[in-house]
Amino acid sequence: MSYKVTEEGDISIVHLDGEIDMDVTEKAKEIIMPLIEAKKEVHLNLKEVQYMDSSGISVLIESHQKANEMGKKVILKDISKSVLKVIMMAKLEQILNLG
């Protein structure tokens, strides 16, 4: 997994790339959580994520819940077909913010 973070005002945009599995979830959290804790609105761009497993979905849930606690939002953007399928399999399409 590789990533790039860009800033647009109060919004942090995290572009994730590659495959997100148990082996990279800690790294993903290290990237995303500090942005949420800094009270940024976080957009996760998932266009280039070709694979995500249950560990990756857990990162999305944790991020979503942490942002809710902080009164902020994590919005999932440009979700790739394969990631959307896993989100729907987990029945999270009504829970997570899909933008």
Binding site: D23, D53, K85
Partner: protein, 142 residues
């Protein structure tokens, strides 16, 4: 390439989260030889990777080990069988439950995905030298 109707391939992997990408590569290589649609291939790869992840996470509880796990993918007359063999802690089937899907929290989804994708999930005691033998099956329509 001629699509195969019978397959039996197995491979050993280090018990480590770093091996999961190799597990996926192996699974993709095998399913490339079978004439099934890409969505189903992707689902099967996910189910296999989730089961391998459960071995790393639960049978070995994330501990470092030199042990290997073995994955065997067999297809015969439309019956796909995927076997997982490991030497970790014995699995108590009573403890293998996915969380309630409307209880939104991180974790517990892997087993749910496996059950969604596969027709049957069977835990057996492994024959020596294995401790656990997990069998996932699914009927495949070519």
């Amino acid at each position: 390439m001629v699509a195969l109707r019978q397959i039996s391939e197995q491979r050993d992997f280090a018990v480590s989260s770093a091996s999961l990408k190799d597990v996926r590569s192996f699974s993709r290589e095998v399913f490339e030889k079978v004439n099934i649609d890409q969505d189903l291939k992707d689902e099967l790869v996910l189910a296999i990777a989730e089961a391998a992840q459960n071995i790393v996470k639960h049978a070995y509880q994330g501990e470092d080990t030199d042990d290997k796990m073995e994955i065997k993918i067999s297809l015969n007359n439309g019956e796909l069988e995927i076997g997982f063999f490991d030497k970790g802690r014995p699995v108590d089937e009573k403890n293998v439950r996915h969380r309630k899907i409307d209880d939104v929290k991180p974790g517990g989804l892997g087993t749910f995905f496996i059950q969604q994708i596969m027709d049957a999930v069977v835990f057996k005691e492994g024959e020596k030298p294995w401790i656990n033998h997990l069998i996932l099956t699914k009927k495949i329509n070519y």
